[in-house]
Structure formats: C-alpha cells, structure tokens
C-alpha cells in the first residue's frame, strides 16, 4: 500500500506548463502531485498578451514554433472553448514597412500550415475600423485570444478531478537524492513554514524561468535567458480583431482584444534572474508601448490605460542575442538522466502559452517512458471542464432557463462548470465587483473550492478587481467576505492592504488622466474614510 506522500510523478510549478503536464499525467492514470510556491498562474502564465497565436508571427523566423502554434491553436478551439475568443488576426503593413515582406510572410505561413489570406486594405478597415487607416497591406490569419488564468485553472481542475493533488504556496527547498537519483522533494509551506517530504520516481521541472534555479538545485544547468516583456491593458476593447505588424517580430507590435479590454505588447529586454520575482514597468517602456501601439490602432493614443504589467519569458539560450528576439520559442524537453546523469528528473521549458498542451504531452510521454507505462495522451481531444458546452448564451440558458446578468457573466468565465456555482437566489447574485459583474456566489464558491488564500488569488479565479476601478470598491467587499468565510479578520485586513498595493503597482506607471482621478478617489476612501492605513 502506497503512503500518502508517495506519488508517480511530482511536478514543480503551477503555471500553465505545470498545469498542462499535471492534467496529462492524471488523465493517463498517474498519481500526480503538483507543487507551486505562490499561487497558480503567477509567473509568465498570468503576464502575457493572452494571444491565441496562429503561429504566423513565427512563420518566417521560426518554422518549428509556427507549426506547433497552429496545431495547438486548432486544438484549443475545441478543448478550451470557454477560454478562447475566435477573433481572427490581421498582419498589417504600414508605409514605413517593406511591403515585399508580405509575400515572404504569406508563403512561410502557407508552408507552416497557417491559413494566410491577403486582403485589400480598405476591406481591412471595414472589418476592423480601429486599424491604422494608413495601412498599405493586410493579411488575415487565424489568431484569437485566450484567457490564460481560466485556461490554467481549467487544467488544474481537471487534474484534480482525475486525482491529482495540487499544493499552492508550497516551495521546493531541496531535492531528496539517493546517489545520482532524485527520489523526491522537500517542500516548505510558505504560509505555515511547515516542511514536508514527498516521493516519486520522477520529478518534472515546469517552473518557467525559475526552472533555472530548480535545475541547479538538482545539479543540472539549463542556460536560460530571462526576457522581460512589458504590456499595457486598455480600458476598452478598441479592436475586435487581433492586429499585428507584418514585419520581423519587434517591440509593441501586437494588439489583442480580450473580454472588455485590449492589450498592447510587448517589449523584450534581458533582465537579471534576481529581478524576475519583482518586475516593474518603467516610464520608458510605457512611452514605447504607447507610441508603437498607436501605429497599429491610432485610438490607443486617447484611450484610457488600465494597467501596466510585465512578465519574463522562459527562453532557453542559444547564441549571443541581447534581446532574446531570435531565440526559438520551441519546446525544450530535457531528460536529465541522458543529458546530465541525474536519474528521475525531467525539465520541460521554452515553449509558449500556446504550446502548453504539447509541452505537457511531451513531458508526460517522457515520464510514462521512465515509468514503463504505455498510455496514450488524450488532452488533444478531451474538452477541459467547462468547455463541454457551446457558447455562453446557450450554456447559461441550459443552466438557468432565463439567466440574469451575473449568471451569464459566471457562465462566460466558468463555462458549463457554472452549474456548480451557487447563483440561484438574489443574495448569491448580489454583485461584489460591478466592473466585471462578479457575484457573491462566485466569490463564495471560489473561497470554498478553488484554493484561494488571498485577494490576489481570488482575482485570478474570478476577475474581482480587474475592471476600470481596479478594486476601488470591490476589494473591500471581497476582503469582508474572506474575513467572514475564514473567520480571520486580521489576515483579511492585511491581505486587503497587500491587494491595494498590488493594484497600485500596475497603475502608477500609467497614472495620469482618469487613472490619476481614480487613484485620488481610492486614496481618500482607503486612507481616510475607512482609515486602512492606520490599521
């Protein structure tokens, strides 16, 4: 009989790669443990464009990634439909760009299996009125947008439904080694400080950019390249079709619509590993993103910015490339036994949000090979929990017959899983967050069932505090609900202070206009009316 702390596989990292690997392994019948030192989706998973890449961006420079992207793109439309918005995308050529590049671009897309159709600039303006009217060329590709938080949660949830154990706020402090074999991990609970040991014949390093340190801890060296990318979120959905520049990948050349907002990005700068834990967006980055962004859609220059944020791409180093733009976005799956002589240890890295499922598949294949298990991967065909139904409208009608606005909003976020969220009576439907239409029922459900430790975790799962007011009113309401649900007002109050600072971190780099106005109001409410600063 196996002990509680013995597993078939231990996965380190709670981003989308770890989640995808955990789901794949769990679906193949393995007993899975996933450990994450913070919350799910805190690294690059939660800090990107949310672009459902068609692969077109890489078609010319990185064919392998381009092919992977388009295949995964088509798969995600089927298995993750409640996370995906099928918007399509344009690659536009501006007067300052070389129109000759377009032909090469279309040819490369076609070679990679990406549908790329040249359309008349006038037609492009008709289909996407926000696009820069000076464009001289446009190519239509199957880009889209994807909600990375939702995608990550759905993978975690499915892993759990198939028996996986997910431990958040649990940090690997040490590998348990026996000679040249990794037997397990020693893990510290970052909330209680308690140390536990877990054992498995295989450990998978899926820690993104932090995988560099995890590998080093195991005695292996992966030459990683931390490439910071900064992005801006705008308060309106300016465009309804993704807009890219038809040129070699450069700064701020993708504008992605998502939910009620749109996102411009990114920059690419190498940063020291020490900075990966605390990224700040600089005024220069903001200026660059705005100037370049307005070339894609001139309306951005006058649209309110909601937040600035930055993530770190977990690239694996190739040659000397100061920005990391030329490093392949391809998947790197390392068997450290053959590579470094360390048994029972695998790293899955490189790749992209788009190819997380394939990364999970490759890692799970390797794990199964090591365990002598012959099970096929099913993640390309089985829909994720929530994605078994059709469009939000149909899903919500099926659950509630005549759905209210908060019920529809919940179905938009949780898909068919909305049926397990208590949303029948008026008290459950009372809105906590007006901007994002998040109801009390959804908040209570997340607190009870979705491993929420604090307000930021709650935001990742429900979108509380992600709207135009950036938590101005809902943060206090949600903190009150956490205090009641957990019976600990002291922690909830400290948590509220942490949340206000987390929101402010994304606001101050873009604090002018309406954001400054919102900030003044929030300052007075929290630091004077309710006096949170004195507590």
């Amino acid at each position: 009989m196996r002990k509680d702390n013995e597993f078939d596989v231990i996965i380190v990292g709670g981003g989308i790669t770890g989640a995808g690997t955990a789901r794949d392994c769990a679906l193949r019948g393995l007993k899975v443990l996933l450990v994450e030192r913070h919350d799910i989706a805190t690294g690059a998973t939660g800090r990107n464009h949310g672009l459902l890449h068609s692969g077109a961006r890489y078609a010319v420079t990185d064919k392998e990634s381009a092919t992977e992207c388009i295949e995964e793109n088509m798969i995600l439309r089927r298995i993750a439909r409640h996370c995906v918005d099928e918007t399509d995308g344009f690659f536009i050529t501006l007067p300052e760009d070389d129109l000759a590049y377009q032909a090469k671009f279309v040819e490369s897309c076609t070679a990679a299996g990406i549908r790329a159709e040249i359309i008349d600039p006038k037609e492009a303006i008709r289909l996407e009125p926000s696009v820069n009217p000076d464009l001289i060329g446009a190519v239509r590709v199957p880009d889209g947008s994807v909600d990375p938080f939702r995608l990550c949660s759905a993978n975690m949830l499915d892993a759990k439904l198939h028996g996986a154990k997910i431990l958040v706020y649990s940090e690997v402090t040490e590998f348990i080694k026996e000679g040249d074999t990794i037997r397990g991990v020693r893990v510290r609970d970052n909330r209680s400080g308690e140390i536990s040991e877990y054992y498995a014949p295989v450990t998978v390093n899926a820690a993104g950019i932090w995988g560099h340190q995890i590998a080093a801890m195991a005695g292996a060296n992966i030459g990683m390249f931390p490439a910071k990318g900064a992005l801006l979120i705008f308060a309106h959905r300016v465009n309804s079709i993704v807009i890219n520049r038809c040129r070699k990948p450069a700064n701020a050349d993708i504008l992605v619509p998502g939910d009620t907002v749109c996102v411009i990005g990114t920059t690419s700068t190498k940063v020291p590993f020490e900075e990966c834990d605390n990224m700040h967006v600089t005024p220069d980055e903001v200026d660059l993103l705005l100037t370049e962004g307005a070339k894609l859609a001139p309306a951005l220059a006058t649209t309110r910015i909601l937040r600035a944020y930055a993530g770190v791409r977990p690239l694996v180093s190739a040659d000397n490339d100061p920005s990391g733009r030329n490093i392949s976005r391809g998947i790197v799956c390392l068997d450290h036994e053959t590579r470094d002589g360390i048994k029972g240890f695998v790293s899955i890295t490189g790749g992209k949000l788009m190819t997380y499922r394939l990364m999970g598949e490759q890692a799970a294949d390797l794990v199964c090979k090591k365990l002598n298990i012959n099970k096929k991967c099913e993640t390309a065909t089985l829909p994720l929990p929530g994605s078994e139904g059709g469009k939000t409208e149909e899903v919500s009608k099926k659950i509630w017959a005549v759905p209210s606005a908060p019920q529809k909003a919940a179905a938009g976020r949780a898909g068919t899983r909305a049926e397990v969220i208590p949303l029948k009576n008026p008290l459950d439907q009372a809105l906590v967050c007006e901007c994002e239409e998040v109801s009390s029922g959804e908040v209570r459900y997340a607190l009870e069932h979705l491993e929420v430790d604090n307000l930021v975790d709650l935001r990742r799962r429900t979108r509380v505090g992600m709207g135009t007011c950036q938590g101005g009113l809902c943060a206090c309401r949600a903190a009150g609900m956490i205090a009641e649900a957990r019976g600990c007002a002291e922690k909830a109050e400290a948590d509220l202070k942490g949340f206000m600072n987390e929101r402010w971190k994304g606001m101050y780099p873009i604090a002018w206009g309406n954001t400054l106005r919102e900030a003044e109001y929030t300052q007075w409410v929290y630091n004077y009316v309710i006096g949170l600063n004195e507590q």
């Binding site: 700040h280 005024p283 705005l290 209210s404 606005a405 908060p406 008026p426 008290l427 439907q429 009372a430 809105l431 906590v432 007006e434 239409e437 109801s439 009390s440 009113l473 206090c476 309401r477 903190a479 009150g480 609900m481 205090a483 009641e484 007002a489 002291e490 909830a492 109050e493 202070k497 206000m500 600072n501 929101r503 402010w504 971190k505 101050y508 604090a511 002018w512 206009g513 400054l516 106005r517 900030a519 003044e520 109001y521 300052q523 007075w524 409410v525 929290y526 630091n527 004077y528 009316v529 309710i530 006096g531 949170l532 600063n533 004195e534 507590q535």
Partner: protein, 401 residues
C-alpha cells in the same frame, strides 16, 4: 446672466463660499457639475491631524493654504464655520478650536475636527475602550465590513457581537444585483427605520453600544436621532463605502440653505472656458447657459476627482483658466510605489498669491480666487485637512471679496 460673484464648483468649498457671500448681500451663482468630494465624505471634517491643530498650523510652509490665511486668523474662521453650518440647519458636533476622534469603519480612530450630526466625535481615545458592542448590519449589504469593525474595536478592548437584519422592505432591492448600495438602502430607510429600531430592541442584550452603518437620514435628517431615541443603548453610526449618505444629504442641505438666501444654484452645469482681458476674468462659458458674467469669480472646482485638476501623460493642469499649477516635473516624481505612503500628485493644484488670487503665468488674476481642494500645496490627505481647507479658504476669500 450677470452676478456679483460666480462660484465655479458646488462642493463643500463652493457652497460655504456661496452661503458666506449671500449673507454679505452679494448676488451669487454656483455652477455645479455634480459629483464632488462630499460624495465620499467620512461624515467627519478634518482640520489638521495634530494634537493642537491651531498650534500646528503655525508650522506649515508658506504655500499651504492655512499659511496663506494666516495661522492667527484661523480661530475666527473655525468659529464662523460652526455658526454658518448651524444657520444652514446642520448642527456640527465638536469644538471649533479643538480636535477629537472619529470611529472608522475599520474600528480604529482618526482625528476629527467637527462631525456631521449623526457621527459621534470623541474627546479622547479612552472613550471607545471597554464597551460591549452590538454591530448590526443589513442582510446582503457588503459595503459595511462588520468583521473589520469588530476586529478594530476588540483591539481597543471592546467585546463585539454581530447581528444581521433581514427586512422585507429590502427584498425588492436585493433582487437587483447592484442595488444594495448605501444610497438606495437609505431611501428605503427614510421610512423603514422604525422596523430597524424595533428589531434592535429585541436583539440587544447587555450591550451598551449599538453600531449601525451610515445608511440613515438621506432625505430626512432626523432619522438617526429618532433611532437613537427608540433604542435603549447608545447608538453609533459608522461610515460605509461610498457613496456617503451623510455627505450627500449635507450637500442638499447646504444647497437648500444657499438658495433660501437667494443664491442661484446651477445644477448639472459645467464651466468649460473663460474670457479674460489682461489680468481680469470677464466671463465663463458654461455648457448649458453659455456666457455668465460677474465682477468676481471663485474657482472651487476641486481636485482630480471633481475634474478641477486634470492631467495627461506629462502635465498636470487646471482646465478652465490654464492657471499655474504647483507640481513636480517628470511623471515618475508624481507617485510613490507604496500605496500607503504620501503621494506627491495629491498635493498638486493651483498656485495663488497670499490672497488666494489665482496665478497665471506667475501673475495674479485680479478677480479670480481659488478655494478648497483645487489649491496646490495643501497635502490634505496626508495632513488630514481636506474639509478644513475647503471651509476656511472659502470663508477667507468670501471676506476678501
């Protein structure tokens, strides 16, 4: 349209100035765009966050509005403020020359100068220690955090019990997901307060304090007192998340008193631009009325929230007159990365001379005075002087004009 004085802005500063000027016999108008800082009032006015505010005012730098008024002049205006509000039917609690304390929604204490009638002001910190408290909320109301209030009070040595009332009168509100907000509840409570008082009587055991959210007395200012009379323990009303019920009622009361004195309150109108000649303002253009002329103009447009101060990527500016603004150069100097530290941008505002005459291109405008939170250099949040600056600069300028 022509007036002796046109006041731009109908918040605390503008209304105070309007009342004082009407009393002096001036013919005035207030142009009010709508929202102002009274909408998120705590129910208390701050003069200066210091043990002895009038003494501490002497230490302020010269560009602080109190320094412009002159610390020696403050006492007469603080006395006048209480009297002026009294005449408008608002009996402020507290003493004009002293500070007390207000109970915050987090169960802590913040310095207060005077408070609106339903909000208690405590002379010292000891007054809130050791009580047996019954905190009563209304079912489904999320903007009154009972557990935080209890936590704070327990730290002060109180013991707390929390009860939630379910009133049939509120069912209709609850059915709409976004209706359970202070002002909507307060509308119901103008009549349903009787039920609340009756329910509390059955709930109270040995508690000596009952705490209710500030959702009473929106139209009928007497409701809080009537609850107090009906309940056999001391009833305290504690602030909620905005909108502020006592703040909105106070604005209505001040407006009514102003109109009773013959003032013209132009509700929902907004000053867009101004016509000037040399250092004189000839008129302002408003959205609804077009050109409005006057001998004197008062800028009481508030700060960012009320749009008296605006900003773009690289500038903070005053949008109507293009007045000089006190600020730091370079956007990264505007803020502190810590939300709970003083924020430089909050101190930015219009520059004036010693008489609050607005500076434009470093020269004073002859007939344009600025009052309240549109003024630069006040650091109102950090120093706890928001209402004090609004009221006292209004009274000072009203005397000058």
């Amino acid at each position: 349209m022509e007036f002796d004085v046109v006041i731009i802005g109908g918040g605390l500063a503008g209304l105070t100035a309007g009342l004082a000027l009407q009393e002096k016999g001036k013919r005035t108008a207030i142009v009010s765009a709508g929202q102002n800082a009274l909408h998120f009032s705590s129910g208390a006015f701050g003069l200066l966050d210091a043990e002895d505010p009038l003494q501490a005012a002497k230490e302020l730098p010269e560009h602080h509005p109190y320094a412009r008024i002159g610390a020696e002049n403050l006492p007469k205006y603080t006395e006048a403020a209480k009297a002026l509000f009294g005449k408008a039917g608002i009996a402020l609690n507290g003493e004009p020359l002293k500070n007390g304390w207000r109970l915050t929604p987090q169960g802590g204490l913040k310095r207060a100068w005077m408070t609106l009638p339903e909000v208690d002001i405590f002379p010292d910190k000891e007054a809130i220690k050791g009580h047996k408290v019954l905190i009563v909320n209304l079912l489904g109301y999320l903007d009154f955090n009972t557990s935080f209030l209890a936590l704070g009070l327990e730290k002060q040595g109180c013991s707390c019990r929390i009860e939630t009332l379910r009133l049939p009168e509120m069912e209709r509100l609850r059915e709409n997901p976004s209706e359970m907000r202070s002002v909507n509840i307060a509308r119901v409570m103008d009549s349903a307060w009787i039920k609340v008082a009756a329910e509390i009587k059955t709930l109270v055991k040995d508690e000596d304090w009952i705490i209710l959210p500030l959702v009473f007395g929106l139209k009928d200012a007497t409701v809080p007192d009537r609850i107090r009379e009906a309940v056999p323990a001391k009833v305290l009303f504690v602030g909620t998340m905005p909108p502020s019920v006592p703040g909105m009622r106070t604005q209505m009361q001040l407006k009514k008193a102003y109109e009773a004195l013959g003032g013209t309150f132009l509700m929902g109108d907004e000053a867009i631009s101004a016509k000037t000649e040399g250092s004189r303002v000839l008129s302002v253009s408003t959205r609804n009325l077009g050109e409005v002329k006057a001998a004197e103009f008062v800028l009481a447009t508030g700060s960012y929230f009320s749009k008296g101060i605006a900003s773009d990527m690289n500038h903070v500016f005053e949008p109507i007159f293009g007045a000089d603004v006190l600020l730091d150069e370079g956007r990264s100097a505007w803020y502190d990365p810590d939300f709970f530290s003083p924020q430089a941008f909050l101190s930015y505002g219009v520059a004036t001379d010693g008489q609050f005459r607005v500076l434009k291109d470093q020269a004073p405008m002859d007939n344009l005075h600025a009052i309240g939170s549109v003024l630069g250099g006040a650091r109102s949040l950090e120093l706890g002087c928001g209402a004090g600056v609004a009221i006292l600069t209004a009274l000072s300028v009203a005397e000058t004009i």
